[in-house]
Symmetry: D3
Subunit: 299 residues, 6 copies
């Protein structure tokens, strides 16, 4: 068995060398670890249980004891999230800033998130309503909340978006990716999305970082709201932060697998057909739905 | 630290108020909790282990002891499922019905599901065969059962479909969504699907609630069998329960990312090409595959 | 309760009968169980922690103690993988081969995989760089490693590919499917992929078994690199092992939901547009991007 | 490997035969399982956390949120205990009694236990005080609650005793044995024990079912308060339910390893020396402490 | 933080040096690990569930499905125990013996243990009966099996004793210590104990390796059946394997905290009083119970 | 069900009232939670694995990789222990001391404990040797380390004692109680114990806080080294910190269930017999072993 141990020892040395690790190893600062996917996952489960009591988490909540359950979950949510926000802030922190200042900022941000939870529930309730109204197969709000991937995704998104607005690095993106992995829907936390938003089925949907989406918008599976291309700087690297994704007005519908690219505006009430490829503005009330193909186009 | 606790106490009060909870909180009836995703997930794992012994669950099953393993798993499957069926029936139960009648109905339905397991295995065996025959990269039935997402999805679907036929609310849809999250394939439990059915790769496939699919049908990733639009009632809400998804005959193949919409019929033996968009009937043996685009269509 | 037990006993007998089990039951050989998804999942987590220390697994690794962590993880990786390689080799082993020879082969293969880990890290580092350069929303290598599904998928793929090259059955495919379920990206372990490879968003991407992909290639979500059709043998079964998927040269970009089918060559530096359907060669530097549709094509 | 399976199959048949199982197998009635040690253990942990918040269970409880924690724990305590009380009642239930009556009784008893928790805490507080006053090594009430086995044991005993008084079979004894295994102190739940009771170290202490212990009593490790002998009935079996263990007045101290046997009375304020063997009454204020042995008694 | 890592690195080097490890480090032979307390604990839980179905393990076993449960548990018991027996044999194996011979021996021994389980249950049933008959507080066989530590201890002992008889090193002792920790009763696996054996309360009981105990014997808590002293060899080390513990005839009773030392014989039907110290033979039917102390012996 | 919720709500209010909680509730200071038994238990398991590699924790450690395992365990031991030491220091901290000073002290103490681990191993090695030499039934050092409760207890004690010497409150006592619960041996962490110390069987042994025990001392089960009585202060409370337990010289043996009380000195090489009760000095080489009782003393 000597050979194996020789191999292991040698590979350990190799993989632990500074040379091999360059850029791939995260050395902790001030003993603050990286944000943790496991902790963020628990935070999301707590948030779901707080926002939709009885549907997620404790399944036997009653009117008389709901306060206890919300209270315990919210206190734990606060504690866990504060640690993760701290970890996020330390991830690319300016080294001059004293650790205690960062700690105070993490506390302040997390408390603000707690304060915003009732508003997050209020807007998610409109999303539940939109999903119910838009699906003939849905039988109750309860079914929507229990089963529909769009509600899980939007809970993550609406929480991640608030964290993004408060300037927390990394964490919002990690929360989005948790939903992406669970539902196949990839919403960048920086995107802006109105109320009564819904996505049917959802797998393959992509919503880019600079998207602005109005109220009462509905997307189907496989829709991309992406960038057409992006300008490079003098060194050939993409310039960061430029608006490059579509703006969708209120009441827009985009059918399955349509691709909408670039900083264009899809006017209020427009309809984009399935499998469409749209790179120019659509006027309000416009219909971007192709005619049936003519027979001669087929083999 | 007073501020934080003030915030927490206030947000707990807010989130626990009847006003904020309206429509988003599930109050249990008769102490029967909501169906549980965790329990349904265990039920699915048990079903996979019962239907494909040695491939799922206990990986060291032998011919001589298989009965013990199937027996223990089946008894547990029965007990867990009975509870979930009960929870499903109570989810939108008519309040006049006495709880003991619901309990008896849950028992009866679950026992019937147990009785149907051998038939479910028989038809899943045809799906394994179809996946093997349709993939040049497959090397054995064992590889199909172990690795191919289509088999996991169809196990969930075929079980959920029987529960749907027996009139259980909510549960079938939750089982479908478990598979949807795991494989990216979204099959509504009400859809009707024949034997020797297969889906290659699968991510992004959507099969709507009123689809009727024949035998020996094969789909590729990203295929939508959806509704074109749906009639609204006088209040502007979608009318529930109208046939609105396609009928696929036997031996149909639909290539990747094709979109087939509306209550149309795709005739026996037809082929639908990749990325196609089909909203009208296709005759038996038809080929809906576009010619190569002409050069002048490109930039 | 007698009825229920009668039913259970009868269904157990039925499901345990040789007749019902034919082809669906894996009888262990020489007491070697089937490969286990749980064990492979742990192996992948260990590999991620070894290759990107501090980002996966132990989140508090420091420069001074990294060797201990890599050492413990690598020894466990070796032990677990050796067992799974053994299980894979036994899955379709020639029965004439003595078990001790298989065991020696499993040891040798696993040791070789350990030896290749530094090279796997080196190439994954180029993939991280490519993802960073290609996304204006990315802020650091660390964000790429922590959040981007493409890095998780490629870690699985690059490990699975080496196992495939060393002739291990089943395991590579199971590892691919773990990534497929997690990210919606389905890369066959037999595909050949150069350095600096990246996939944006990723859900719905399919890369077939005989694909050959050059360096600096970028794909977007929903791209299929698939087979157009495959020749059948005299019995009507697909002939295995024939090259049937595309070859992509260096520096190729394929936009979202494009479908590239068959053993065609996409020349160095080509660009394939979103939703394109490509079944013929594209010359080096070619642009397969459709013009905007003319107005008369729309309803 | 055939032999092994033959053996296993044969031993399974043997061990499952009615003959071999006689008296050793518990067949469930009405689908109510036996009381569960795991559930009782969780119930005890919940009770400890409810009675001594911050010391057991949630270690970060604050004044502002304590109600939430007590509320959630108490609701779970109620639900779990109700199930176990039901299981206990069914353990030796008269078969004529309808199951619904038993269920109602279980609910009533459990609710009564909940009502008695504040009184249980009040008396346990006196036990904490007694332990503190009696040990020069103790530095605070907190140390007593966190570390001293006597407090763990008495929490179990005082809860088990109330369950015993309410007529629940089996459960009280199981709860005692959980403490016995954890601390080596064996208090029968039927024993009657006053306030300000303490036991130092505790391992090996036995307190019999018909003991009556006054207030401010202190025992040391290894003390037995047992039965001297017990009368047999005509069939030679012990007659159940006869008082057969000692009565200890207020303020009694019994030193380590003393053995006090039979229905005798140890008067108020008496002291029993270490390793003593006492089978007759001791008058109030008496000292049962042997003189030093004379030299000639030693080898 | 440098200091800490310096300290850690230095202490790791020190603790890993051959010098520091001498005699305290177990280097595995042939890749066979040490016996595992966790595995032995699971084996014991399985054995209890197999021997007393419904009382341990699965609490909802029914007559109709008991075979499945016993079958699954027994197969797992066999597999786990075979591995531990192998580990035990390798613990002090003669290095000349080929590993395959040891493996065959482990298989043979484990199979023999399986064969002896029905007999182990038969004798444990007599122990249950003895505990019931000897305790006026016991209400049913079920209570004895569920609660009484003596049954847990004797299940471990009777299994460990068979393993000892079959020549397995280390494992029997580890199984005894599991019971010792759980119940405070320390029975050496080499001791020989007849049927209808019981121990009341039990904490502190010690039964030495060369004890021989007849049928219908009853011990109380704190009883020691130990060695008086043991002869040393020329080097001053104790000579191993000499009979040095008591022989107890049938129907003997030993009351609490009595100490019986040396290779003496306690005759059939004798009674030893509480706190007695016995180092010489007691004739059949003898009573070794001290008179009450005279008044003048007390202070 | 209203009644139950009324009861629960009322009992929650009652149990959460400041009045009911007085002295029984631990309000955290500066957000530092109480020491945790779960964390201390993990710390002990890590220490056992570090001190006796291969016997505890990782059972497959090899010479070539031992450093990795010790390194990872030691880093985790350091991190966990630092947190617990901090919690211990905050438990009864002087409120004037700034939290950062306490944190620095916790770090310093923990680092010092790490530095003392090699010495702790050295002395534990002498205890292993003593246990082996003193037991004719022991077959190897490995058996002693794997099975004997004395080694588990002494590992806890020797670690707890160092923490006590460094002035950490509460933690040492909690560590002792973990061993007490596991083995029935209760050693106060403040006791001073020499090398080559052993305890046979051990259940019921008590060693008081001010004991001083020499080298090569051996105790048997049930031995008490306790206080005879303790002086009270003017208020009737015991005076803390006065020497009140025995001093045992080198080479002393105390047989089972002997009780040695008070600040007396048992001289070098003395022997105390089983069940003895000793409250006065014993000269060096003395034998406190009673003659056999005379016949007339018995009934």
């Amino acid at each position: 068995m000597n050979n194996v141990y020789n191999t292991i020892n040698q590979v350990v040395d190799d993989l632990s060398s500074a040379d091999s690790l360059k850029g791939l190893f995260h050395q902790v600062h001030d003993n603050v670890p990286l944000p943790s996917n496991d902790a963020l996952n628990e935070i999301i489960q707590l948030a779901r249980g707080i926002l939709f009591p009885g549907y997620f988490g404790q399944s036997k909540v009653s009117q008389e004891t709901i306060k206890y359950h919300v209270g315990v979950s919210l206190e734990r949510f606060y504690r866990l999230l504060k640690k993760q926000v701290m970890a996020g802030l330390c991830f690319d922190i300016n080294e001059q800033q004293p650790i205690e200042d960062v700690r105070a900022k993490a506390k302040e941000i997390t408390e603000e998130i707690v304060r915003r939870l009732p508003e997050i529930r209020r807007i998610l309730a409109t999303d539940v309503e939109a999903a119910f109204n838009g699906d003939p197969a849905a039988t109750s709000f309860g079914e929507i909340i229990s089963c529909y991937p769009v509600i899980r995704t939007l809970t993550n998104y609406r929480l991640a978006h608030e964290l993004h607005l408060l300037g927390v690095p990394l964490i919002p993106r990690m929360i989005s990716e948790l939903a992406h992995s669970e539902t196949g829907i990839d919403i960048h936390p920086a995107a802006q999305i109105g109320h009564h938003f819904t996505i049917d089925h959802g797998t393959g949907v992509v919503i880019g970082a600079t998207c602005i989406i109005g109220n009462n918008v509905k997307l189907y599976q496989g829709v991309t709201l992406g960038a057409l291309s992006f300008p490079l700087d003098a060194d050939g690297n993409p310039i960061k932060g430029i608006p490059r994704h579509p703006i969708l007005g209120d009441d827009v519908i985009v059918y399955s697998n349509a691709t909408v690219l670039g900083r264009i505006t899809i006017g209020k009430g427009s309809v984009i057909g399935a499998n469409e490829w749209v790179t120019t503005d659509v006027e309000p009330g416009g219909r971007k739905v192709r005619k049936k193909f003519r027979d001669e186009e087929y083999q």
